[in-house]
Every structure is written in C-alpha cells, then in structure tokens.
Amino acid sequence: MKLPFITSPRLQDRIVVFFVALLMVVQLASFYFIRYAIEQAAQSTLREELRVGARVFRRLLEQNSQQLVEATSVLTYDFGFREAIATRDRPTILSALRNHAARIKASGMAVIGMDGNFVADTLAESNSGKPYPYPDLVERARVLGRTSGIRVIDGKPFQVVVVPVLAPLPIAWVSMSFVIDDKAAKDLQRLTTSEVTFVRDEGGRAELLATTLPPARRASLLAAAGSIIAMGRDGMTVRLRDEEYEVLATPLEDTGGVRLFAILQRSVAEGLAPYLALQAVLLFLASVSVAVTLTGGIRIARRITRPVERLAAAAREVAKGNYELSGVPGGDDEIGQLAQAFDGMVKGLTERDNMRDALGKVASSEVVMQFMKGQIELGGEEREVSVMFADIRNFTALCEELTPQQSLLMLNEFLTAISEIVETHGGVVDKYMGDGAMAIFGAPVTRPDDTQRAVDCALEIRRRIEGLGPALAARGLPHPDIGIGLNTSTVIAGNIGSPSRLNYTVLGDGVNLASRLEGLTKRYHVPIVVGTLTREKVEGIIFRELDKVRVRGKTVPERIFEPLGHAFEVSPGELSRLARWNDGLEDFRARRWPEARATFESLADERKYVRLCAIYLGYLRDLMARPPGGDWDAAFTLYEK
C-alpha cells in the first residue's frame, strides 16, 4: 500500500504555499507597478512644481524690480535730491547719489542727463560725460515713465532701474543697480523651493553668474547649461555629477546676443523622499497581508484537509470492515457533501456486505466469492468432484412430538452443523433438499485432497450427529440417524439457470450415484456409503466393503464401502471382525457359499454386522435354492430410485 502523506507534500501545505506564493507574486508585482507609477508621478509632480516655481520666480523678480523701481522713484522725488540735481554741481550730485544709494542698499546709482550721458556715477566717477551704456533702458523709461532690466556688469548680474527725475517734468534720469548675487539667489531659492542659478549665454558660451548649488555640482551644471537653455524651457531631467535633477530654464533678458537665464533645479531624490515613506507603508501592508494570508490559508486549508483526513481514516476503517463510523465530518459545504456521499457509500457497502452474508447463507461462500469477483459464467466444465448427500433419515420420527416451528428449528440446527462441518473441510453446500443437504468437494475450487477431505467430512458429520444422541434422548427423542452417500466422479460443474438467476451446481451420473448411495445407507443400516473411486483415492481410512451394486443403466457393478474410521481409531477387535467379514465376502463371491454362510452366521450377532449378515444370508438362501449361471458377478442390482 502506498503511503501518500510521506512521499508527497501534504495538501494543506500545497494550498498554503500556493496561495501565499500567489499573493506574494501579486504583491511584488503591484509593489513594483506602484513604485513605477509613483516615480512617474513624482517626476511629473516635480516638473510641475518646477514650472510653478518658475512662474513664482518670474513673479518674484518682477515684484522685486517693481519694488526697486518704486523705491527709486520715491528717492528721486526727494526735493533736496531734485534741488541737488538742479544745481548741476557734480560733487554735490555724486554725494547725494551715494547717500540715496545707501538708503535703499543699492549697489550703485547714477544720474544721466537728458542727453543720455552720465552726469555722475557712484560706480565710476570717471564715467561723467560718458554715454550711459544702456540707452535702451532710458528709451523705455521715456515711454513707460520708468523701467528696469537685468544687466551684467563686470560678470555680475544687476537689476538696473531707470526712473526720471521729475521737476515735475523729467530733468534727468536716475539709474540704480542692485546686484543679484548668491545671497539674492538664496532668497529666491527659499521662496521657490528650488535651487536657483543665473546663467549668461553669449553666443553659446555659458557662464554661471550666481547660484545656490553647492560648488561641487556647479561645473556639471555649467557643462549642461547649453542644452538646458536650448531644451529645458519646459523642464527636463539632467544628471549633475551623481544626482538626478529636474531642471527648467526661464529666460530673463535678451539684449543683443547676450541672453540671461535663470535655471531652477530640484533634486529628484529629494522630490521622491515623501514617496519613500509611502513605499515603506506599502511594504508593511504587503507583509501584513502575506502574514494574514498565511495564517488564514493554514486555517482554511485545515478546514479542508482535517475532514479529508478524517474521511481517509474512516475509509481505512471501512476497508477493515468496520462500518460503524464515528467522526465523519458534517456541514453543508463541499466537504460535508463528500462526507454525506461517503456515508451513503458506506451504507451501500453495508447493504452489499449484508447481501453477501445473505448470499452466503443461501449459497456457499466460495461460490459467492467467485460470483462477486465476476468469475462465474453460464456454462459448465468437467471436473472430478466428490459429491456428498447427507440426510437425517429418521427426522420425521424426531419431529413427531414437535410443533412445526420447533421442527424447523431442529432441522436448521442439524443443517447448520452439517454446513459448518462441510465448510471446515473445504466443501461447498450446494443445496438443501428437505431434511438433507448436498455438498460438493472439488468445485468450484479444486484441491488435491478433495476426496480425502470429503471422507473426513463424512466421518465428522457421523460423529457429530451421533454426539447429539444423548441430548435428544434426554428430551425423550430417538437417536438421530444420519445417512451419507459419497461418490467421487467426473461431473459437469457450472452455472445452471438464466443470467439473472443462476445456480451453481454439478450434474452427472456420479451425482445420481451419490444420491443413491445415500439411499443405500438405509438398506445396509450404515451411516455412510461411498463409491469405489472414493475408496481408492483415500488413505489412512479403514473401509468395509458393503456390496457390489449394479446401478440401472450401467453394466459394470459398483463396489460400495463404508468408512469405519481412521486407522488409528479402529479397534483390533473391529479389525479382526472386518477380516472375517472380508473372508466371508471372498468366499461368497467365489461361490463357496457354505463357507461363506458359516462366516456370516458367526458374525451375525456382532454389532454393526447384524444387518449385513442378514442381507448376505438372504442372498445365500436364494443362490443356494436357485444357483445362478456362470455369468454371476455377485452384484446386487439396484432397482429403486
């Protein structure tokens, strides 16, 4: 038998492993998809934030310049300042400029005459009389009233404000410049939450003017500045040294080939940082769900496999023949249905078994076994078998004082005893006939000692029935008289009848002879009569030859015998009487009738020989009165049945 739970993994484990693995695969896949989506979202969020940052940045710059313009305008309205300008006294004007520049922390301040030349400049006193370098700003101020722009002076970006000195019409222009340095960039960085870099691009040659980037990354930004300016107006991703940055270039000024840009930068890693927490949460949830699935899976799998194991145990019990089952699981689920089906199957098996038992009662268990195996077919085969007919000869006398129920009970007692003995000797009870039974040895199963066992069986039945005598005598009943005919011959054995109702039996002359031998027990007053072949096939048994009978339809007479018992249980006295009987029989058959008569007469009073001697003395009287012809074969012709 295979041991399924040792060689292969248990169903429970397989279920759990499958579902946990499935969940982990799904979790892993979704985790990676989510991470991918998050990264995409973070990147686009970052870019969007950068765009917003750029708008904020431009607005800040505008506001900043606006404020500077306003502040400068306020300064120029100062009456004293206007008076100083009106004096056209350069030292006075320069001094006033320095004073006012200091008031609003401007980097430089200059007065430009209506002719466009410097009147005075705090950045370079020598500029007086020289043309102002940004006439475009002055022109714009003339039209707009005031203006500002970003200009690069000595490699540094400046917010340059140009406003008129009104008295109340313009009498001069004031140019005020505010440096945009790393500190200013830092202020903008704080407000836009982006790194800020000011870049000047002159004919493709980029130059960093001010930046909030750490010095280590400046060189790589400068290297990338050209492409950022060219392609990063709406945001792009660049790698600055070892870190990815989302960058956006926003143009500030374009003055004849010199272009100014502000580049905003945001670290991708920093942008992703908030999502790392989300990832941790996702991982935590994934592990929790795996753990829950593991425990839940084990529980559910157990709910499946436990009943299955119980069913398996129940099935093993059923295999052992125990149909009284306990612990078959219930429930309405599939397992419950399986259990119910199993229960139904067990009931069916029980019924079938009961039927087999019942069959065993009406037919031999050997035949039933073969029948159950489907080996029995309609038709027959030739077999050498020993057929036994056993009969309680004086049953009617036994039943005289009994009710029909009691009679049947007693008959069944006898038949049960006979059947038991037949079965213990390997025979098959073929049928019950009135107060007797027919048994077969050698069919349907052939064994080499079939005949021996048949004779043993007959002796055993004889002994058992005789053993019942005292008990019956105590009840005032006569001694039971058993008659057994046993003959060994070749017969037809097989199923006789129709496919729906078969009867396994044996047919043949030998069977009829056995029945007749049983009838002869009455004539010879012996319990058992066996045929010649039976006698020849048996060893260790002492037989007494009874007669030679001529069965109707047969020319060769059959010698018939009575088994007296096993050699060891026959007494010496018995044996000497048997020897005398054999002598007498020999004389009888050799026509030495007077000698034979003397022998029979000497034995006639011996127990067990009374009837035989009476029969033979009767023969002798007839023979001696009318001596037969030369063809006398000493056989007795059996006429009745």
Binding site: A86, R142, P164, L166, A167, P168, P170
Partner: protein, 205 residues
C-alpha cells in the same frame, strides 16, 4: 507823467506805421487737428519791443494749476494765489526761473518776477501730479491758442515782425516766421507743429 506822454505819443506812432494791426494765428498739429495752449508771440524786427507790464497769476484750485499754460512778458510779476484749503509748495527748477514758494496758503505777499525769457515748468513739491507752464517772452505781443487752435495778436503796430510759437509738447522748436503788418489789417498766419507723445504723469492723488 511819463505814462501821460506815452499816451499822447501813441496816436502819432500808430499813424506812422499804420495803426492797430491784428495777427490771426492758427496752429495745427501734423494731423491737422487744432492745437490748444500753444504760445505765439511776435518780436518786432528793428529793436526791443516796448515793455507793457501786466500782472499775471497762476492759481491753484483742486490741486491743479490754473491756467495750465501762462505766457508773460519778461519782467512780469506773477502771483500764485492758493484757493485750495490745503497748502502748496510751488517750485521751478527751470533755468529760466528757479524758485520755490514753500508751503503756503492764500496769496503770497511777494509775487515772483520772471525776468528771463524761456520755459518755466511749475510743480508742487507735495503734489507730484501738479504741472503748469509759464512761458516768458521778450515782447508784449503774445497770445495763447484756445480750443480751436487760434490765437489773436491784437493792436500790433504796423511793421516787420518775427512770429514765433511754442508748445509744451512740441517735438522740436518751430521755425520763426517773418511777417509784415500793415495798420488796420488783420493778417492770418499759421504753424504746423509736431507734437511728441506726452510721457505718463503721476496720477492725481
């Protein structure tokens, strides 16, 4: 006494040159539209024009100088009466006349005498939007165009004059025109002036 002599001499002068000529000057811009507040004046050719001292006033009402453009002859004393309930601080940084009247109410005791010809831009130190012009000319023959862009110089003695004009928004000074006036005649004259766009001004507060 001097004034009486002058008055007696006047008829003789008038007859000599043909008395009381008028000059009708029309000023248009490049598009042909009438130009208001343009100043026209005639300089007599032979010599200095006679002084004809007249007072003038540039008042302030509702934080506005009234009139917007004033033309005076050299040496005219101009009053700056303040009709507002608040004070004003009138000033000029123009080379023709630099002055200031610090925060005052009513009419200052001393008028300001404009003794050099040229453009004087008036402002108020505490009201940036206030603006007015005083144009100082060396002749008593001047006038200012009205809404129709016409100015009439009246009672000019006959003779040769140089006719000039000025407008506060002119892109460039107009060329002087020579005119000969005969007594009892009305002579038409005209200028076409190119005006520059007026730069934005601080709004009134």
């Amino acid at each position: 006494m001097k004034l009486g002599l002058l008055l007696l001499a006047l008829p003789c002068l008038a007859s000599l040159h043909g008395f009381a000529a008028n000059l009708e000057v029309t000023i248009k811009d490049a598009k042909g539209a009438a130009v208001e507040d343009a100043v026209v004046w005639a300089m007599p050719k032979p010599g200095p024009a006679p002084a004809r001292k007249q007072g003038a006033a540039v008042g302030q009402k509702d934080k506005t100088f009234i009139p917007f453009v004033t033309v005076v002859q050299t040496g005219t004393a101009v009053q700056f009466p303040n009709q507002d309930p608040i004070r004003h601080h009138v000033y000029s940084f123009s080379p023709a006349k630099v002055f200031e009247i610090k925060l005052y109410a009513g009419t200052p005791a001393a008028p300001i005498v404009f003794d050099k010809p040229g453009e004087v831009v008036l402002g108020c130190n505490i009201h940036d939007h206030m603006l007015a012009y005083i144009y100082v000319v060396d002749t008593p023959y001047f006038a200012k165009t009205g809404k129709e862009g016409r100015a009439r110089l009246e009672n000019l003695p006959g003779g040769d004059y140089e006719l000039l004009m000025w407008h506060f928004a002119q892109a460039a000074p107009a060329a002087a025109q020579a005119v000969r006036l005969r007594g009892d005649e009305s002579t038409p004259a005209g200028f076409v002036v190119t005006l520059a766009p007026v730069p934005p001004r601080p709004p009134a507060q």
